[in-house]
Subunit: 92 residues, 4 copies
């Protein structure tokens, strides 16, 4: 099943931001700015990857396992909602 | 202090690989391949970022703090060598 | 829904091992062994916590969302199996 | 070289808190509280381990490599201070 158009647009924006961050790290290395500054850029990129991962996992749960907003079985709906919360906590 | 040419070449190769991985994730999202496959690509990218981070931290320790291979004080040389090992363990 | 007895026994063994690792770190700090050795003990404890997290997430998916081994809907069964794989990859 | 008494007291308080968190996870599993609640307890424990790791790395840098507050070489003092910042960013 395909992602919704809205999800796809958001995910593409996130991954393009990560690509831009990689390019900034590349330029920083070429310009020989200090290691510590490069490491801070890489830390931001790592944070952006965690954000992308949390969003992809949430989309996977909603579209391919159980969508808590439309699931008729209340136990499953609650289990999926809790799982999405847990994933966000671990990846924030 | 600038990195050595050899370090810089290796670091640039790592960051260009990460940029290539971000482009692969972008193409995968555009082609609407499955979430789980996209997540595996993102996991590889995260691993590559950990590798880049460990290498940047090692370079920072060697070039801006204490280089265990040339430090005359043996306690500092050992402390820096241990720190490099610890960083690699945490980021592998 | 409660965990199966088998899952609970495995999870308790994991968490008791982590408690033992915390006690080993405590003794190491009291005995003033080197920082680097303490950091290696803490790295092992972190690995054990990732293992516990992956197992708890897998149990949560199986018992409270979708169990891929007993789910009649093949798309959901596949989605849940993929999700378990992804969680293991991210936490190994 | 031994840690200062103050550092040791703080580190022991951190590790005892982690031991207490492991005991809380153990009791939660025995009491069969929900998976999602157990996972949130484990996430707190993981955060506490990152905090302990950052503090141990900072102590190691200060006592066994270069202490930015007492180092006469200004480049090394700055390199060590930057490294401590980077470690905190990565482990927060």
């Amino acid at each position: 099943m395909a992602h919704t158009i809205k999800d796809k647009t958001k995910l593409l924006a996130r991954v393009r931001r990560i690509k831009g961050q990689a390019e900034a790290v590349e330029r920083a290395l070429e310009a020989e700015i200090g290691c510590a500054d490069v490491l801070m850029l890489v830390a931001s990129m790592r944070g952006a990857i965690n954000g992308l991962t949390a969003e992809l996992m949430e989309d996977h749960i909603r579209h391919h396992v159980v969508n808590p907003d439309s699931e008729p079985d209340p136990d499953r709906a609650r289990g999926a909602a809790e799982l999405i919360e847990v994933v966000k906590t671990y990846l924030k």
